[in-house]
Point group: D2
Chain length 478, copies 4
């Protein structure tokens, strides 16, 4: 369970011959809601060259009016859900971002954001936000003008924009461009129904709309959808891929299919592999921290034969980072979200399974909660290996100093969180569970080895001089 972790965004783009794009994007975004609860937005073509834009703070059902959308007829549109930042009430960074009758919705992070922004600034292009989407859209428009073609533009752009970008772009003249960076960090897939085509962050959005998953959008691939049909092209080649392992471990919905793998199956196997690594000693019961770790608990049960029990109950109605006005309560966010089930925990030796440890505070509170409910022993198992390095590709895992695993040994962490034992997944077993060759995964946050050069340089510098300036960790460098 993550409290306050900034999650990935979710994007969707649809061309529907029958004009029901607005409503379908609404439903598609509801399927992607887990990827971002801060704001939601939609951009639609109007048929006369311009674009209608709606974006607002809140969940999809709060930010957008389904009643309004269901009355709009549009054949091309894109949508976006954005991750949650405590206390931010600003719309400035909400997406889709629009410029020049073009709108962009985007998931990822541009590593050399500051450098590229400064370069544009020097040429007289100024920015209204700190959003990567604004920068990427500026660059894209610039390249399209120079190259005269979307694929060539992306090809050019990919030469100097380093980072993760899984994006959908809508043009006023009724085209949708779906594209993914050459290393393919963040997921993006392509689907269809009889009368429509769609790109989306995860296949669950396609499921929701009754569509069929055609394929992932390949790393370095772009898909142009218009009335003339669907054009797919590779705009950039790369020897390796860098699929974000954390999408399998934590971000994506278990019912999504990413790179041909069922996320559920991966998580099941993560649990099985943990069991194979550590056994189960004389534990009585496996308790998952809901909701992400439930499949892993199942997997562990299959190997060990131990029962699974819902020893921690999650309040279904506190989904966003619920803002509590008084400090004493804010510190107790874990208590508000989780309730221990005494009858399950009391006098038991517990294997507590969670997806990851970042700072160590949340798991510490949970272990405490489980103990107070009477558990005799608490053995923590983490489906993800230790996180030791920051992420520059779309997950807000900040500086080395804040990552408990970059400073402490497993034994020290175990002690600090108050567990009886602590077992992390090994990198090998993680790779095995995902089922993709190691060299095609991004494991930078686990290994400190980054798949792109500027990120590596950045990480190396941060190790020496840890900075985190104005929300952009990269602000100080280049």
């Amino acid at each position: 369970m993550r409290l306050g972790l900034k999650e990935a965004c979710g994007v969707i783009g649809i061309h529907d011959k029958d004009g029901n794009v607005a409503e379908n994007i609404f439903y598609g975004l509801m399927a992607l809601q887990h990827r971002g609860q801060e704001s939601a937005g939609i951009a639609l073509t109007t048929g006369n060259g311009s674009i209608l834009l709606r974006k607002n703070m809140g969940l999809v059902s709060e930010a957008l009016s389904l009643t309004e959308l269901s009355m709009l007829k549009s054949r091309f549109g894109i949508g976006h859900v954005r991750y949650s930042t405590v206390g931010s009430l600003s719309l400035t960074d909400a997406q889709p971002f629009n410029l020049d009758s073009t709108a962009l919705a985007y998931n990822g992070t541009i590593v050399n954001y500051v450098e590229l922004k400064e370069r544009l600034r020097r040429s007289g292009v100024y920015f209204t936000s700190t959003s990567d989407a604004e920068l990427l859209l500026n660059i894209l428009l610039r390249e399209v003008r120079e190259e005269g073609d979307y694929f060539d533009a992306l090809s050019e752009l990919s030469k100097y924009v380093e980072g993760a970008y899984s994006a959908v772009c809508l043009t006023g003249d009724e085209k949708i461009l779906i594209f993914r960076d050459p290393l393919g960090f963040k997921p993006l897939c392509f689907g269809e129904t009889e009368r429509s085509f769609m790109g989306a962050s995860e296949s669950v959005a396609i499921d929701m709309l009754g569509g069929k998953l055609v394929s992932d959008v390949k790393p370095g691939e772009a898909i142009l959808v218009s009335d003339s049909g669907v054009e797919r092209k590779c705009f950039a080649k790369s020897k390796r891929k860098s699929y974000c392992m954390f999408e399998f471990v934590y971000f994506s919905r278990p019912d999504s299919i990413i790179e041909g793998r069922s996320v559920y199956d991966v998580r099941l196997k993560l649990g099985m592999n943990l069991a194979k690594t550590y056994g189960c000693g004389d534990a009585d019961v496996i308790v998952p921290v809901p909701d992400t770790s439930r499949p892993a608990a199942e997997g562990m049960a299959r190997v060990t034969g131990l029962p699974v029990a819902e020893g921690l109950i999650k309040n279904r109605y506190i989904y966003r980072t619920f803002i509590m006005p008084k400090q004493n309560l804010r510190e107790n966010a874990v208590k508000v979200k989780l309730n221990p089930l005494r009858s399950v925990l009391k006098d038991k030796k517990i294997i507590l399974i969670d997806d990851s440890i970042v700072r160590g505070t949340t798991i510490k509170n949970i272990v405490q909660m489980v103990r107070r409910a009477g558990a005799k022993e608490v053995h923590v198992r983490i489906t993800c290996p230790p996180i030791v390095s920051p992420c520059f590709y779309g997950i807000d895992i900040a500086t080395h100093g804040e990552l408990i695993a970059s400073k402490k040994s497993v034994e020290e962490i175990c002690k600090s969180i108050g567990a009886d034992s602590l077992g992390y997944q090994t990198i090998e077993k993680l790779v095995d569970a995902i089922g993709i060759e190691k060299e095609n995964l991004c494991l930078a946050c686990l290994t400190g080895e980054y798949p792109t050069p500027k990120a590596q340089k950045l990480a190396d510098m941060m190790k020496v001089k840890p900075y985190h300036v104005k929300g952009r960790y990269v602000e100080f460098c280049f």
Copy 2:
């Protein structure tokens, strides 16, 4: 999983010596949110004899302002969450209801509502709503005036008010009266912290506030909390109890303790008992319909050794009866709420476990969904025995005609929902799992035998002449 079932309400009443009642009620209601998502309300003493009332449509976090509440100092207060009715946008029936500087929040149903209301009407008392709370509060005030004492008033009242009432009552002169009908249909418990006392529908609200569960409020018991202390008295005796079995099966949160039983443990045992009754044949996997049936699936796994898998993923962000403007989509509410996990279901023989069947439509859609995802066989197991009779004590299970089990045999139902086999819990195994003697449970909806005479008469009449007038099934009788 229930779609559109009208659930029970949730109530809470708090006396806090430090004046933090408003904020605590807010958090307590969040813990009870699963009992009602239509409206939320709060009533507080102001210290000068009057009562401050706030109630609004929506979830607790939408209907009440935590910012406002955290600024209010009050030492006595009550709160209420109300169940969901599609399309109703009316505040008229929202609770707490107030009359004469007294406020009432209430869970249950008065069986002889129409009769009692008409009797009062004839004496010149008119009603602004169709809420049982308004009627009950009127009667209570009347008896208090006559008897001069809360306990005597309740004793008198209990002689002619038939039905379920688990209630908290707040008076302008700073008292809280917590009381429960003599048969104790709906749950109500009493807890404390160092500086406060509280009554609540379920113990999870006490957990949320860091309190200790002292005991259930006993059937026929009232607790008067004031600055003079806590006074507990039995106002009415009854040979038997009638604890609603559906609270264990479906309504309550799994982490609640009701009548000393862990709801989670009951559900675990429900699953174990189903396994004992039906075995598991050559099934491959157990799939619960989330979230209620998960513990039962665990229980079944413990007996059969079969693996559990999350073959149906619930969209966490559609919690209320989400209103969809277009009919074609409204029919597909199941599709919006659940997504099948193909990798789990494909080519498998599934044991699908759900909590209950009312009309049979929802389970039919789910079976279909599971089949389309590739399941080879679908064996449905229901933790609750067949529901054959309406409920007059707080659950909107309408007329006999609408209850599929009152018209069809198990074989016919199995065929009609498209399952390969269908196994209901037996009443004996249900009773065994709950662990309370059969005669102290209300099993009326399973047996057609009602613990109170007017309800029995009503049910018998409805069998002959099924009516459902203006939202009050009892309107036509007496």
Copy 3:
């Protein structure tokens, strides 16, 4: 200009054969908006015996959704706008009030409210609000049940309900009852279009709907409108009338016709009469305090030949008692609402004309403002005679002690507000301007002589022992 004076309410009731009642009530309420800006409400028949109710805080355009209303088809309905109370955010007292499939919207005050309420309370009728409407509706329903006929019921009711009541009542079985107390304190008129009938507080609502003013509802008259037609009857006779003089002076819109008199013409004549009484000395210019006093300024100009100038400009966008969070600004409400026009006021001898003085604070601030803008002399003229006694018929003019004219002579008031001279209207000239015989006007607040016995008794008691308890000045007596 009044700051924070609680104004009268506005009511409307419509029967429209074409079913456009909801929308028409919305527009009618907009025409009556000046009579109340705190809350607005509407009640409509549904055609099946029940009543649909909507009420909310705010202006008509904020509290009610015209979009929703314009989609509702209803043939009978009533509406209400309620006056403004600073800081009150409660819906409890909003109207229409409903009981027993009947709804009431009401303007006025019941003098013996506490006595009647207590009498009902003793018989077991409890109240959810402190609204006169709830009491009146209870009494009306009770009498209708006893008498079996609306007119007889009102006849009976009028024998013991003392006070002002201009009301519209809607029944679920599709009738509208429009009635006015025997002395006719507050205005109420009756109009029609080709396909509809309507009762309303002021004729401007009838104008807005393109209707024709048929007549005032006579004091003691009731009009029953149903599909069978229009039935008008006198339910109570009275030797005298008691038309509220303040409706002519301040409350009503200038374009309304009340008791056959144009309110504008009355105000014009009020100004003319002031000029006749006091002349204009060597003043340079007449400056009205906007908006009410503008016609009086015109009238004064016609007699004296002096020019009128808009020396005080009102901010059109601060119409409600705008809530200012910081105290220093709250005290300056006059400054936020009015801006002096230096070029008009500088070095001039000003006749400043306003409608009335209650506590004397507002006019004092205005005089100061005018002086600071450079006026050489400020001669205040008030179109209403000195207010020396409280009102018990619908205007919140509180205790004697708060009324500056009950404690001080005109000379003392003049000094206290900082004016060079002060001239009040005489009672004779007021009566002359209104054009109704003195004995048919309620002048109680000017003379201390009340047209009803309990009000007289109450005023006499308050003189000795001024009380103002819990918002009901009458709470302590009887």
Copy 4:
């Protein structure tokens, strides 16, 4: 009276040493609310180099939270109110506009907007809106970078940006730049209190804040306010000025002082001059169309000795272009806003005085309304001369073809609007009333002679080929 005319915007910028900028901007915007009711916005320095932005649809009191603002401490800030466009619900064009930690609020129009935008576009600068503010801010930032100094930057900018711009600009490093184009089309003034400096569209905002009007910002002048003090410089010289005459006639509040003239006095004189030109024949009464024409009616009365009467009453509560869902009512917006006072109009010969005629529809409806109320004769007098040419400097007076006076003679217009006589102000008498030499006023909409070359060219082209593309009339040219 104008229905649906797009009015000018209002701006304000404040430096307050005590940090109360946010609250003061709120109050200042309330004083400027008449200049724009569509949206309101505010930008504040945070003290750490960045800017906090809030903007929303609606009136100031709806769009901004005074509660929130009064808790924010900031020493530099700017605010904006934007004019009303029916049906537009888009925030895209709301101001302040921000780029690169700089925010701009702006009143005016850039004549060569399309040309300049296209030029920037060609250099890779793309736009998110069609707002002149975005273009102007881009150009300003570009020039500041090149010139290194605000005054030089404005000097450069003024050489090629043609049009009206009265603006306030806020920088993250705590400066406010207040500037006005060299011809000074739209008003802008500068004021101070003991602890603060402020620039605002009209002096009433300074009045509201208890400040002193120091002077107008001169055409071609810029004022830089920072902690170092106030620096005033002329950045561009011009032989003539072009003060918009319509600010005096219609836009500004009567209590504003513009270029040293009281707007009220100008309007008074406009009425006097009309009276001198046309006399009053045997008319009985002067009736102003509220609210703008009231001072002119006063002026006319002073000359003719005729009485003024409020023959048309304006509904104070319909201030925005109130959106009516049904067409038949929308056509009747005049009826909803105005009510004729029969007792004033009946059997009278009326001089009806209004500020201007654009398309002729509104005045036609008013004349009709006055006649139906019984007027014997209706003589229309217009304080503004005939409008024959479009405005390219900030008022949405569209194409020649839509201007009734560009197509018809006064006699024809008189007939078309149904008046008995029609008298426009002459240009000479308008100039005389304003009291500024003709060559320093912008009279382009009256004469067709534009003070800037591109506007002249544009007007000449539009005469031949009237276009109005996508909301920017200038889109087709250059």
